[in-house]
């Protein structure tokens, strides 16, 4: 059954990519003892959290045929907002809620403009990228805002016992839980199925009675909640809100989603794939670091991997057609 094999490959493909990267790293005698340790995996997983949570929202957006370029700015803005709320003495629970909600509101705004004015998501979110980045600088007075040192928010991403794999930071578990939740939402809820339908063919979606514009609004809103959560993780990791952080993060996130098998033309993509995609990039960065390679080598490598991953995907699907 070639059909079955192909579907199986769709699921396992990104895993094979990850194994390939790990395998290549294992070839290096000198780096192996540093790369394949619990402590290092802990570092890699912690580094993946921000991209991974952002990729959850981005998967939803890309599957529906859209794109969101404002993620990096939203992460910076919400991290600053969180730090300021904590400094102002707001209860940490409320601060966390406020950070996530702020992401959601920005997302809803994106969605409202895209659906309401029927504008291209690329343009709308490109504009929002600038607006939100500016707002972050304005809110922080162009300076980093340190969170109070004893704030429980800092503990979310803190690495207790850095020399061992366990316990993993809470942020990693939160990312895993959110990924599981999102996978179910996308595959098992009517909202999720409608997102796929809109991305696959908007005209058909309309013909099938899907309220395309409302669904888009909620898609960007929900994605915004994830981006706000990413901002929270950013704040926790740096223990400060930095208005100039996460520049270009949106491209890393889009790359993760695309390496995971999603198509930028919409209609295909998976949460699991996006998570593996995020991991592949983190492992590559970390591995080349451990090998002592220059950062420009990393940049070239990651660029090649993105094109390669999508190229392989195209090739497979071109033959399937």
């Amino acid at each position: 059954m070639p059909g079955l094999v192909r579907r199986w490959l769709d699921v396992v493909g990104p895993f094979l990519g990850l194994l390939l990267v790990l395998g290549l790293l294992a070839l290096s005698e000198e780096a192996r003892p540093f790369i394949f340790t619990g402590a290092n995996f802990k570092v890699v997983l912690t580094q993946t959290v921000i991209v991974a949570i952002g990729a959850l929202g981005m998967t939803l957006v890309i599957v529906s045929g859209g794109i969101d370029l404002s993620v990096g700015s939203v992460v910076a803005f919400t991290s600053v907002l969180g730090a300021r709320l904590l400094v102002a003495g707001v209860h940490p629970a409320w601060a966390v809620a406020g950070v996530i909600a702020a992401g959601g509101i920005i997302g809803l705004l994106n969605g409202a403009i895209i659906a309401g004015l029927r504008m291209l998501p690329f343009i709308v979110t490109l504009g929002m990228m600038g607006v939100v980045r500016g707002a972050a600088k304005w809110l922080s007075n162009k300076q980093t805002v340190s969170a109070p040192e004893d704030s429980p928010v800092n503990a979310i991403m803190a690495r207790v016992k850095p020399s061992e794999l366990l316990p993993l930071p809470h942020g990693v578990w939160i990312a895993v839980a959110l990924a599981a939740l999102m996978a179910v939402v996308m595959n098992r809820t009517i909202f999720g199925r409608h997102a796929f339908a809109i991305g696959s063919n908007e005209a058909t979606a309309r013909l099938c009675g899907i309220r395309v514009r409302w669904t888009k609004l909620w898609i960007y809103g929900l994605a915004g909640l994830f981006f706000g959560t990413s901002g929270l993780m950013q704040l926790s990791r740096l223990t400060q809100g930095d208005p100039s952080v996460a520049v270009g993060l949106e491209l890393d996130i889009i790359a993760a989603v695309v390496i995971g098998g999603a198509s930028l033309s919409g209609g295909t993509g998976s949460v699991l794939g996006a998570m593996i995609g995020a991991l592949i990039m983190a492992v590559l960065r970390n591995g080349t670091n451990q090998l002592g390679w220059e950062t420009y080598v990393q940049e070239i490598l990651i660029g090649v991997v993105i094109v390669l991953a999508v190229g392989v995907d195209r090739f497979r699907h071109a033959r399937a057609r």
């Binding site: 796929f196 339908a197 063919n201 058909t204 013909l207 099938c208 899907i210």
Partner: protein, 528 residues
């Protein structure tokens, strides 16, 4: 005249008479055959054109006209037969080759770059240049020359094409075709989006071209136009040329008889069904851009066919009714309630479903699975507490794949991998699974194999038996007469007649669809 192309050996300068005396036709087609898979699209076409002749090519939708034109313009190679251009064998390898040899084609849909200027469009692909730098003065001069040939010197060559009316855009397109100094110009339904006045103008242009020696193949559904313009006619039916003659002295009746000419076979299984009370009534429904005015009533358990030419507004009527196009005027009564239009989602909620004529572009999510496409409009029954249950999806999808006789490797196969007929069964299956009470079917059997057609006819009959009402738009008259209880005919945006199917003949339907052009109806806004 533009500079002479050295490749063309005898073009417009040769007077028609000389060529006729040597009895070499400008274009001669003999026994052209072409098959696509198992479908024999052309099964023997003969066509002869003299220089300076305007020749009407007439046939019903699906008679093979477009295939023939694609063969002539080099897009398809014929399987058998011989084409001669000025007595020499003509075997174009592609459309560009055909154009160079002197066969140009004007399609029904204009092929212009709307943002570019008139002169840029006319000389697109043959822009005069020196080392890559555009020779602007020469470009303007050649564009003006080409337009002058058409008597359209008043079109501003610097203006963007999008600022012109459709009629003038068409002249720009013809001017572009003239640059290659064609010996044969093929025009496919050139008047379908023109007003009366523009049509008259176009006829003047065509006569002028013919007088300069170009042979013109004029394809049109509008027989009265053909009579006014053309000197000879050829009728295609089921991929064969079934008659040819001088326009003068041939009554329209004769041409229509040749267009229809086949026996209605008993391909259409009828499921007995009873008609109930009226469920849908339209009173002068109007939409943007079409239709003009449609009044009809549909009863419970009725299969109502709508016939008409391409562009008569049949598809648009369904789309307006379903909420996909804008509602412009008129009233509807849906199950007794006054209705002024609604969104597609509300229509589906009220039990109305639409099968799109554009299966790939709109009807189906091609890269999603069969089960997803079947169940998309009604996920309720496959969910438990708001969550889609994979087990229920499998069960329901399996049931409907069986009921619709869909041939697929499984419910998870992307629907784009299925054959056209099976795709259509999935699209129709979606409406039946949705349990829509009113089914709007737009060309449900277009481009699918005979077996799938029969299967779809059966499903339609069963739906009517179960008390559902069906509106069946089709360009294929035998199936309308074979399947429907009532057949209505649309012409130029209006529903012009409606009778029980048994009281129609194909001949009468075609006559009604062609209609007499009423100024009020034809003066409507052109599309786009």
């Amino acid at each position: 005249m533009p500079p002479r192309d050295s490749r063309s050996n005898c073009v417009s300068a040769t007077s028609p008479r000389t060529v006729a005396e040597t009895s070499v036709a400008r274009l001669r087609l003999q026994g052209i055959r072409k098959a696509f898979g198992a479908t024999q699209a052309l099964r023997g076409v003969d066509l002869v054109l003299q220089p300076g002749e305007v020749h009407a090519l007439i046939g019903e939708n699906g008679a093979g006209k477009s295939t023939l034109m694609k063969v002539l313009s080099g897009a398809h190679a014929p399987d058998a037969g011989r084409i001669e251009l000025d007595g020499q064998r003509f075997e174009p390898s592609d459309p560009l080759d055909a154009r160079r040899a002197g066969v140009a084609m004007i399609y029904q849909e204009l092929n212009l770059a709307p943002h570019l200027s008139v002169e840029e469009n006319i000389l697109l692909g043959s822009t005069p240049h020196r080392w890559g730098w555009i020779h602007r003065r020469e470009r303007a001069a050649r564009a003006r020359e080409a337009l002058a040939q058409l008597g359209a010197d008043d079109i501003p060559t610097r203006a963007p094409v999008s600022s012109l009316t459709v009629a003038r855009q068409q002249l720009v397109e013809i001017a572009r075709a003239l640059l290659a100094q064609p010996k044969v110009l093929i025009m496919d339904e050139p008047t379908s989006s023109l007003t009366r006045v523009d049509t008259e103008n176009l006829f003047r242009v065509i006569r002028r071209l013919a007088a300069s020696g170009v042979a013109i193949v004029y394809i049109s559904h509008f027989l009265e136009e053909c009579q006014a313009l053309c000197s000879r006619w050829t009728v295609l039916r089921d991929g064969e040329s079934v008659g040819s003659g001088p326009m003068e002295g041939t009554p329209v009746e004769e041409i229509i008889r040749r267009m229809v000419g086949r026996d209605v076979q008993d391909l259409y299984p009828r499921t007995p069904h009873e008609l109930g009370p009226t469920v849908l009534e339209l009173r002068q429904l109007g939409g943007r851009p079409k239709p003009e005015s449609v009044s009809l009533s549909l009863r419970r358990g009725e299969i109502l066919g709508i016939a008409g030419l391409v562009g008569a507004g049949r598809t648009e009527t369904l789309r307006v009714l379903f909420g996909l196009d804008a509602w412009r005027g008129g009233e509807a009564f849906l199950e007794g309630r006054v209705d002024r239009g609604a969104e597609p989602c509300e229509r589906l909620a009220h039990g109305m479903g639409l099968l799109s004529e554009d299966r790939k572009g709109e009807g189906l999510l091609l890269n999603r699975s069969v089960s997803e496409n079947l169940l998309m409009t009604r996920l309720g029954p496959v969910t438990r507490l708001g969550w889609v249950s994979p087990r229920r999806v499998r069960e329901q999808a399996g049931r409907w794949i069986g009921a619709m006789e869909v041939k697929t490797a499984g419910p998870e196969t992307p629907v784009g991998h299925l054959s056209g007929g099976n795709q259509q069964k999935v699209a129709l299956g979606r409406l039946l699974y949705h349990d829509a009470r009113i089914l709007l079917l737009d060309e449900p059997t277009r481009g699918i194999d005979v077996g799938s057609k029969a299967s779809i006819y059966r499903r339609i009959g069963e739906a009517a038996r179960d008390g559902k009402s069906v509106v069946f738009v089709s360009s294929y008259l035998p199936e309308l007469l074979g399947v429907c209880d009532t057949v209505a005919v649309m012409s130029r945006g209006r529903l012009v007649a409606s009778r029980p199917a048994s009281e129609w003949t194909e001949h009468e339907i075609i006559a009604a669809a062609i209609g007499q052009p009423e100024p009020a109806a034809t003066a409507g806004k052109p599309l786009s």
